[in-house]
């Protein structure tokens, strides 16, 4: 089963991918940083074996670049990246986003990760979910960053009441077992 990790930029997708990979393979998958678009190519880990409640799942995990409708190289410059490198990074980011969008047709299931500190009702989230729903691809919404004081996972529940939602902190590992149970429940 291929499991795609989708979401907007900087919602903690790679942190979650690393959490899953470290828990079940002992090795991380992706680079993580505070700079937007750190993941600019689809990162893949094949045959991750997850065992939940006596069920064994073999997953090809896909950590997707964050989907957005805008990329400006100037947003990288405050992080100490020079203009030319920032422009190259922006170009790579756009290619990664196109790749992530293409994969929407090919994943068997998806985790759509949202930052619980931010407004979830964005067009990017709506479009990602709409496309997955149109293809009847099972979706679990992940309300991430619940360890932060400002987190409001209830806002995600309000915005998308039709979906199963798991509240986690990918960074701290809070509720991560609930997520594994949800993945096992939705596995086809």
């Amino acid at each position: 089963m291929s499991l795609g990790i989708y979401g907007n930029v900087n919602t903690g997708k790679s942190t979650l991918a690393n959490r899953i990979c470290i828990d079940w393979t002992g090795e991380p998958l992706s680079e993580v940083s505070e700079i937007p678009h750190e993941t600019r190519e689809v990162q893949k880990k094949e045959r991750v074996v997850i065992r939940v409640n006596g069920k064994k799942l073999i997953i090809n995990l896909l950590d997707m670049p964050g989907i957005t409708t805008k990329v400006d190289y100037r947003e990288f410059i405050p992080f100490g990246i020079g203009k030319k490198k920032a422009q190259a990074r922006a170009k790579e980011a756009t290619k990664g986003i196109i790749e992530a969008i293409k994969w929407l047709e090919h994943v068997d299931a998806a985790l759509v990760v949202m930052d619980a500190c931010k407004d979830p009702y964005t067009q990017v989230n709506i479009t990602i979910l709409g496309n997955l729903e149109a293809r009847k691809i099972p979706v679990i919404l992940v309300a991430n960053k619940i360890d932060k004081k400002k987190a409001r996972p209830d806002k995600i529940r309000e915005a998308f009441p039709q979906h199963d939602i798991v509240e986690i902190s990918a960074l701290k590992g809070d509720n991560i077992n609930k997520l594994y149970e949800a993945i096992a429940k939705h596995a086809r």
């Binding site: 969008i101 009702y121 496309n131 149109a134």
Partner: protein, 116 residues
């Protein structure tokens, strides 16, 4: 900065070839126009638009993308296609503008607000 808003009727938009629909939006936005579609894009068209926007950003450092919000468009391409074939109108409305012009988009299921 002057803000120019262009309204596109469902009839005019649907008469365009599918590829030209996305081109029309991109062309307008690159001319710093806000484009309002009387009939909202389907989720598949939005996805196609996102991809095209990324290709355009990749071509030029000047174009930095779009802000987009759709309202009341809950039908997939198949169902909205059938409605259109039967002479009906799929629901919804889509607003697209250049990212550098739109400061903020606020939205809920019933309302969209663009700040400049």
């Amino acid at each position: 900065m002057k803000v120019q808003i262009e309204f596109l009727s469902a009839k005019a938009f649907n008469e365009l070839e599918p590829e030209k629909r996305i081109n029309t939006i991109i062309t307008a936005v690159k001319k710093n126009k806000i484009i309002v579609l009387e009939e909202g894009l389907t989720r598949e068209e939005e996805r196609e638009l996102f991809s095209r926007v990324m290709k355009e950003i990749g071509k030029s450092n000047r174009f930095t993308g779009i802000e987009i919000a759709s309202l009341g468009q809950e039908l997939d391409a198949f169902r909205s296609g059938i409605i259109k074939m039967l002479g009906g109108k799929a629901k919804g409305l889509t607003i697209v503008g250049p990212e550098k012009l739109v400061r903020e988009v606020k939205r809920d299921p019933d309302k969209i607000g663009f700040s400049f």
